[in-house]
Symmetry: C2
Subunit: 141 residues, 2 copies
């Protein structure tokens, strides 16, 4: 047996299920300069993201309040066994596609991290926080 | 059979496992006014939180970078079937106990939300984001 016969971790884990990758979009979000009227810009972002995700397999779930209210619009990307990402400062008129691209990057990631290279700009400048996968233990060096 | 014979949802779900409630503390965090030297204030917060959690059953996991770097110090609270909470602007010299109290509140919560009433001030003013439990679906009214 050679090293080449060992299971390829990258190949195995790149089979993360796109359908199980979820984009949560806050429908009550607005940007600091937006009025307080309803419907809020977050609802527009949620609708645009659902349209952008059609036929990609990515699930979009609108919901009320991810508590990132000062830094809206807001979305969260989550995929099984991957890190969870919180994004803010999103523009409802242009950033839906970036969220779907980010979800696809995360669902294809071998190590559960969203790669910086190739990540849409809105998901670079809008990064608010990331949360490790369940059961994550950092190795102590 | 009367209503009193039905399973009490509050009682059932309040049995959330304290031991499965995790506080992730970012060890590379610093506040905006702190120098860039290591060890960082986040490491002090992690150590203080581990001490504060002794004999509570709450698990503390130090790790590097929750990507909330502009709003440090940072910690995340997660409990099974509950919402996940990201907190920033934490003071490593005084806020460890607040994190442990928050973890206990979350582990005792019947609806998976951390109650606002009784929540330590540091976890009110430092709230950065919250993320729904896996499988969460908001009901459409």
């Amino acid at each position: 047996m050679t090293l080449a016969d060992l299971p390829d971790k990258d190949v195995e884990t790149s089979a993360r299920d796109t359908a199980a990758t979820v984009i949560y979009v806050c429908t009550t979000c607005r940007r600091p300069e937006d009025p307080e009227d309803y419907p809020r810009p977050g609802a527009a972002l949620a609708e645009a993201t659902m349209r952008a995700a059609e036929s990609t397999g990515v699930t979009v779930r609108p919901l009320r309040c991810l508590a990132n209210c000062k830094r809206g619009c807001t979305a969260v990307l989550r995929s099984p066994d991957a890190w969870t990402y919180v994004f803010g400062h999103l523009d409802p008129t242009v950033d839906a596609q970036a969220l779907v691209q980010g979800a696809e990057l995360l669902s294809q990631s071998a190590d559960g991290l969203m790669p910086w290279r190739g990540r849409p700009d809105a998901l670079k400048r809008g990064l608010i926080a990331r949360i490790p996968p369940l059961g994550f233990m950092e190795s102590i060096e």
